[in-house]
């Protein structure tokens, strides 16, 4: 068992009491409190030792590999590479594993769409009803389920297995020094890790950080951790724009997963940078100490984890799809098919946002999709695809390859894909996370900061990347 304990500092959270009385108040009574405390605690420890000695016998054999593994996992030399390898491995399994079920689901669900269209035709349903229900709601659902569900169903169990195994505290241990240097709490590594599952969960996990200052830093930066709702988007785009080109050289999936690793690491780097900035401006202070226990490795209950997280995830994603993607799909269809002055409302919106989109290396439709996707990050890419497809570009999107086709037909380049991924990584949190931040802080200004801060970062980073990219392209061409 490894205990890494620092001194306990005066705490600014739990013990902030009346502040009028202190242990010194007892000293006139003839007892030095410090020595009494030591004696009291000492008696307890001695008694514990006595009891344990009587009750526990050691019978030699028996092997505990934990110290050896921990040395490897937390050493300065091997700790970080192992962490990156683990991340890359999980993402690679997800990228490769999600490809096939994604294709099957797309084929199945869009096949059903045709059947539904035929059915609506046979029943003589009006075109608008067919539009709202089938081309809007159903198609939105189909996109979310086929593109988003498979990566989630693979990534989440993998992540849960690592969590069950006891790897996360080791990650926290490895990252502790960097967080300290950023003026934040080392426990933020844990809240960040939870953010990989869901940012709302990560924000709630921030409760484990005692100091209000450090908790706020962790809370405001959790959004820079790629959540489950954004992983599939990143994976799909990496597969299309990075994976396809390098398939022959690196094998399927490897380059794509490395690209996603790159995005994730960018998010971590931004977390450090913003934490550093916050701890020197709005949330000034000295990082506090804490004790972190590295729990023993436990054999994860693989079956249970797989079944539970798969089922729970599936149910969760499907529920969310019904609740969010279906209405969003209907809304997108209505916006795309209600015309004002010769153009659809969606086109008006997109052209209004076009200059801002251009600035960020995106386009108006993408920004519209991000705004309409506020309820859940899962639906941003589906909304975008629907907007593109309703714009007259009739591409039968049946797999990730054709997904690339849709995007390229709408002027996407690798630079735009990169900007999209960065914007997805850095932009404002989803509605659930914003609500959670509000619940945790109960402060309008901090909640607003949790929205504006990432947005500002996204704008700065994306426009910088877009301009640099264009400049380089111009130089290469000229």
């Amino acid at each position: 068992m490894t205990d890494r304990t620092g001194p306990t500092p005066p705490r600014d959270g739990a013990n902030a009491g009346c502040g009028t009385s202190d242990p010194a108040a007892f000293e006139p009574a003839g007892v030095a409190t410090a020595s009494v405390t030591d004696q009291l605690v000492g008696s307890l420890y001695r008694r514990a030792e006595e009891v344990a000695r009587a009750a526990v016998t050691r019978h030699g054999r028996g092997w505990d590999p934990t110290p050896v593994i921990d040395t490897l996992l937390t050493s300065r030399v091997t700790g970080l590479p192992i962490m990156l390898l683990a991340l890359a491995a999980v993402l690679w399994v997800t990228v490769v594993g999600a490809n096939y079920p994604s294709q099957v689901l797309t084929h199945l669900l869009f096949g059903l769409e045709e059947k539904l269209t035929l059915l609506f035709g046979a029943l003589g349903a009006p075109a608008w009803l067919h539009g709202v229900l089938v081309l809007g709601m159903y198609r939105g659902l189909a996109w979310v389920v086929s593109v988003m569900l498979p990566p989630m169903a693979i990534f989440f169990p993998c992540f849960t297995l690592l969590e069950d195994l006891g790897y996360l505290p080791r990650v926290a241990f490895n990252l502790d020094a960097v967080f300290k240097r950023s003026g934040a709490c080392g426990k933020q590594a844990l809240t960040m890790s939870m953010g990989f599952g869901c940012n709302a969960a990560g924000v709630i996990a921030c409760r484990i950080i005692d100091s209000p200052r450090e908790r706020m830093i962790a809370l405001l930066t959790n959004n820079f951790t790629v959540c489950n709702g954004r992983f599939p988007t990143l994976i799909a785009l990496s597969t299309v724009f990075v994976g396809e080109g390098t398939k022959q050289v690196l094998g399927p999936g490897l380059a794509a997963s490395l690209a996603v690793v790159g995005i994730v690491l960018t998010g971590v780097a931004v977390t450090f940078a913003v934490s550093w900035l916050l701890s020197r401006t709005l949330l000034r202070g000295v990082p506090s100490f804490f004790a972190l226990e590295l729990p023993p490795f436990r054999r994860p209950r693989v079956g249970q984890v797989l079944v539970r997280s798969l089922l729970d995830r599936t149910v969760f994603v499907l529920t969310r799809a019904v609740l969010v993607a279906a209405p969003a799909g209907a809304l997108v269809w209505v916006l795309a098919n209600t015309s004002v002055g010769g153009h659809s409302v969606l086109a008006h919106l997109a052209s209004f946002l076009e200059p801002a989109g251009r600035l960020l290396g995106l386009d108006g439709f993408i920004l519209t999709a991000f705004i309409l996707g506020l309820p859940a990050n899962e639906i941003v890419l589906p909304i975008l695809l629907m907007s593109y497809l309703s714009g007259g570009t009739m591409v039968e999107a049946e797999s990730l390859q054709t997904l690339g086709g849709v995007l390229v037909a709408n002027g996407w380049t690798q630079l735009r894909a990169l900007c999209f991924m960065l914007f997805s990584l850095l932009h404002w949190p989803c509605a659930t996370t914003i609500l959670t931040v509000w619940n945790e802080t109960r402060d309008r200004r901090w909640t607003l900061a949790a929205v504006l801060l990432p947005t500002a970062v996204a704008v700065v980073v994306c426009s910088a990347v877009a301009h640099t990219g264009r400049l380089l392209a111009a130089l290469a061409a000229g």
Binding site: M1, T8, R11, G13, A14, N15, A16, G17, C18, T20, S21, D22, P23, A25, F26, V31, V36, T37, Q39, L40, V41, S43, L44, R47, A48, E49, E50, V51, A54, A55, V56, T57, R58, H59, G60, R61, G62, W63, D64, T160, E163, D164, G166, L168, P169, A172, L190, A205, R207, I208, D210, F290, A291, L292, E293, P295, P296, R301, R308, S309
Partner: protein, 275 residues
């Protein structure tokens, strides 16, 4: 799964009076990562995911267990190494035990590092007599070459001890049998507490007498005195000259424990059903 503060521990939150139609309140205390949450899930049948990282249970979780047709309210306290209120978790756990007064406290200890875990068990025994030590992860200890003699442990501590493997449900029925016995009074404990030096005892008694008039009935005076001696602000506040009447005592208590007192008259609906 409800995440609640300690303010709604069923109807038994205030006093250690079992019976009276109340659903007995059983608290789970223990060091981080001893499998408290796993045990909680097994007991309550909740399938909440239990992560393997310290600090997962930040607040107090509550659920209901059934044993031989009888319901028990199970409270999963945050994992702590001590009840001497150094961190928020420690304060929540300590306040709950001192003021919430559960009918039975199960101290979950890790069989692979018993000595360190027993420190908390001994502290809980300072707060209450109704303690059962649950020696969890006994299989892992055996794999590593440790044999824990549960009977000797129980004799040494003077409270019952049960060996369990919570993740497989082993020993959980026996544990609930003991809990039942403690609630009904068929099992009587004789805790063998740590012996303090005479001057510590004197200091404790002095603080106890000063605290006595300022606490609601049933509060664990001795342990609160120990906390005061160790410089716990929230308890020291109770001793401040300004807090004269009982009214002020309630107000000056940390918010995490204020609930049980202020709700003393209007018992939560959940509790009223059975009474």
């Amino acid at each position: 799964m409800k995440q609640v503060g300690p303010e709604r521990p069923g109807c038994g939150g205030l006093s250690a009076r079992p019976g009276a139609g109340c659903r007995p309140v059983v608290a789970l205390a223990g060091n981080p990562n001893t499998g408290k949450s796993t045990l909680f899930n097994v007991l309550t049948g909740l399938n909440q995911h239990t992560g393997n990282w310290p600090g997962k249970t930040v607040l107090v979780a509550q659920g209901v267990a059934r044993h031989r047709g009888r319901p028990y309210t199970i409270i999963d306290l945050p994992g702590t190494y001590s009840l001497l209120a150094g961190s928020l978790e420690e304060q929540v756990a300590s306040d709950f035990l001192c003021f919430g007064r559960p009918h039975v406290t199960v101290v979950v200890v890790d069989a692979t590092c018993l000595e360190r875990n027993l420190n908390l068990a001994l502290q809980v025994m300072e707060v209450t007599d109704k303690v059962v030590v649950c020696v969890n992860l006994i299989d892992e200890a055996e794999r590593r070459g440790y044999a824990v003699d549960v009977r000797t442990l129980a004799d040494e501590l003077g409270v019952p001890a049960v060996a369990t493997v919570a993740r497989e449900g082993r020993g959980v029925a026996e544990l609930l049998d003991v809990v039942e016995g403690l609630v009904d009074g068929t099992i009587v404990t004789r805790p063998r507490r740590a012996a303090y030096a005479p001057e510590v005892e004197r200091a404790l008694r002095r603080v106890e007498s000063r605290l006595a008039g300022r606490l609601p009935p049933g509060a664990a005076v001795r342990w609160l005195a120990a906390r005061a001696l160790c410089g716990d602000q929230s308890v020291l506040c109770l001793l401040a000259p300004s807090s004269g009447s009982d009214e002020t005592v309630v107000v000056s208590l940390p918010t995490s424990v204020r609930g049980p007192f202020t709700q003393a008259e209007n018992v939560p609906a959940e509790g009223r059903v059975s009474s």
